[in-house]
């Protein structure tokens, strides 16, 4: 059956840090079942895997992508400039480009993985990368221009990695406006949407104002996730299949030794839904 005749299948990978690697497990199942995707939407940590999938990487290549792009040292180097601005805001001129981690390791990894010159137009299927405008709070979807830069922006956890200019707008983490962007897939005409989403875990004890603030932001992001998801489930015309892998609390963005476990959990969750997905595909084909 030609691509035009069959239902359009979208993969949406939500914000979830390193947990987004669970999508590799899903891709192993989709490959085995010969299910092709027509578009990919990625947000925050999900944008790294989303870009790779849109470029046509196989599950094995995705594992390599993770190793190359997401090393355990991405948070190792502090941004001295940002820290001075935070501690001495007046002397060093505090501004809106704050990020306490120097993003050069992360940005370099992403460029090395995808290539500095790779553009959105080089992907085999359309890829939409969700970010947030720091000044207006709106979700901004990137779908053309340099791919690695877009992925870096979408993964820009606030206060940790600095926001970045893109066509005159200051953009950062897509999770602040649209942590599981199923609406983008709906707008782009998807018939069936596989949505891989993650709740942000909360901490039971707090020992600093910074942790207190993180707890608040994590609660807000979860509430935003529930409210948006409820809306799109009620509003859409396509079928949304949620894949929410069962993962324990406390997976940090540099816990790379846990990746094989994360992938296995993603695969296990995908296996639970694959029967339904195949049924949907069959119905939609008639």
């Amino acid at each position: 059956m030609s691509r035009e005749d069959r239902p359009k299948v979208a993969l949406v990978i939500g914000s979830g840090g390193l947990k987004c690697a669970a999508v590799i497990g899903l891709m192993q199942v989709l490959e085995r079942e010969n299910i092709e995707l027509d578009m990919v939407v990625g947000c925050s940590g999900g944008s790294i895997f989303g870009a790779a999938i849109a470029l046509g990487y196989t599950p094995d290549q995705l594992i390599e992508t993770r190793k190359k792009a997401w090393t355990d040292d991405i948070t190792k180097k502090l941004s001295l400039a940002s820290i001075l601005k935070i501690v001495f805001p007046r002397i060093f001129g505090f501004d809106d480009h704050i990020g306490i981690i120097d993003d050069s390791i992360m940005a370099g990894n992403i460029e090395n993985t995808f290539g500095r010159k790779t553009m959105f137009s080089d992907t085999l299927i359309p890829f939409y990368c969700v970010t947030t405008d720091f000044h207006t709070g709106e979700a901004v979807v990137l779908s053309e221009g340099p791919l690695a830069r877009a992925v870096r922006i979408s993964s820009g956890i606030p206060l940790v990695f600095r926001p970045i200019e893109w066509n005159g707008r200051l953009l950062f983490d897509g999770g602040l406006s649209n942590p599981l962007p199923v609406d983008i897939a709906i707008q782009q005409g998807a018939d069936i949407i596989i949505a891989v989403g993650f709740e942000t875990p909360l901490t039971p004890t707090i020992s600093s104002p910074g942790q207190f603030a993180m707890q608040m932001f994590n609660i807000l992001q979860n509430q935003l996730l529930y409210k948006r998801y409820a809306f799109f489930n009620a509003a859409h015309h396509s079928e949304i299949i949620p894949i929410i892998p069962d993962l324990p609390k406390g997976i940090k963005i540099n816990d790379v030794s846990k990746v094989p476990f994360i992938i296995a959990q993603g695969k296990a969750e995908a296996e639970k839904h694959i029967g339904y997905l195949k049924k949907m595909l069959a119905i939609r084909r008639e």
């Binding site: 505090f94 909360l202 707090i206 104002p209 603030a213 932001f217 935003l224 409210k227």
Partner: protein
């Protein structure tokens, strides 16, 4: 048997001092209808009990001045400095402010009343800070509920009720229309407020405020979108717009804020009345 009257709910969302606009809303609505349920979250929790117990417009305006005064920020500057320097001990029960002034001001709002003393059913929304869940408060002392609902993270210490550590209702449900629907309201008049964005960032606090506003405004937008589409009741969202950004403690602007609330409500009034007539 006479047809039962439709149940009307008022919902007042989070918005700090802007929530004083609900005084203006009530000024207009009290002439037109009687209310069967009032729900308040965060700043809205200051006004919900006052409306429910029938406080006068003047009293509500006066109480507003005391709640939103700069004095409630007692200790903030010193504690913030200590926090930056790392010498402040901070845990899940902490805030940067000594809350005694706020607690005193809330006595005026709540008058030592219990929920059971108030004739019109009242629900106050807070957030469980360890589980992140929305918590609906409807029994015990009203002041405890309002204090919990107002516990702006990092500023006011969380408030413990029945063993749960509670913070600002705006973090889980900035415009709790869902609570009014669950309670069986047929008509819901919901006053909500978007948070303003900053243009200049001079400190970490400013960036944190911005992140908070981005999240809450996106949650608000999703809330409207969802209930506009999915609800079974009639919902009138009243969103007063303010020409200039208001700081948290612009008490001198309270009369203007009340007026904005009145104006915004009058715009909706013909539609609300039409629906009331149609349903009666």
């Amino acid at each position: 048997m006479a047809a039962s009257r439709r149940r009307i709910a008022l919902v007042i969302g989070s918005g700090g001092i802007k929530c004083a606009a609900s005084i203006g809303m009530w000024k207009v609505l009290r002439e037109e209808l009687s209310v069967d349920l009032i729900v308040g979250s965060s700043g809205g929790s200051v006004y919900a009990p006052a409306i429910a117990r029938g406080a006068s417009i003047d009293y509500m305006a006066e109480a507003s001045r005391e709640v939103w005064t700069m004095d409630v920020m007692q200790g903030y500057v010193a504690n913030l400095k200590a926090a930056r320097g790392g010498s402040l001990k901070f845990n899940e029960r902490s805030g940067l402010v000594d809350d005694s002034v706020l607690n005193k001001a809330l006595e005026k709002v709540a008058l030592d009343l219990s929920f059971s003393d108030i004739r019109i059913p009242l629900k106050i929304i807070a957030t469980d800070m360890l589980s992140g869940e929305k918590v609906i408060l409807s029994k015990g002392k009203v002041q405890d509920a309002v204090r919990a609902s107002l516990a702006i993270p990092l500023i006011f210490p969380p408030w413990e009720i029945d063993g749960r550590l509670l913070i600002d209702g705006g973090v889980s449900d900035p415009l709790p229309i869902d609570v009014a629907i669950q309670e069986g309201a047929d008509i819901i008049i919901a006053m909500g407020f978007t948070l303003s964005y900053r243009t200049r960032f001079r400190s970490m606090t400013a960036v944190q405020e911005q992140l908070n506003s981005i999240y809450i405004n996106n949650i608000l937008n999703s809330t409207y979108a969802f209930y506009n589409l999915a609800h079974h009741a009639e919902i009138f969202p009243i969103l007063p717009e303010f020409d200039e950004p208001l700081s948290m403690f612009d008490v001198d602007k309270i009369p203007a804020i009340i007026e904005k609330g009145e104006e915004a409500t009058r715009e909706h009034l013909p539609h609300i009345k039409k629906l009331l007539t149609a349903l009666d």
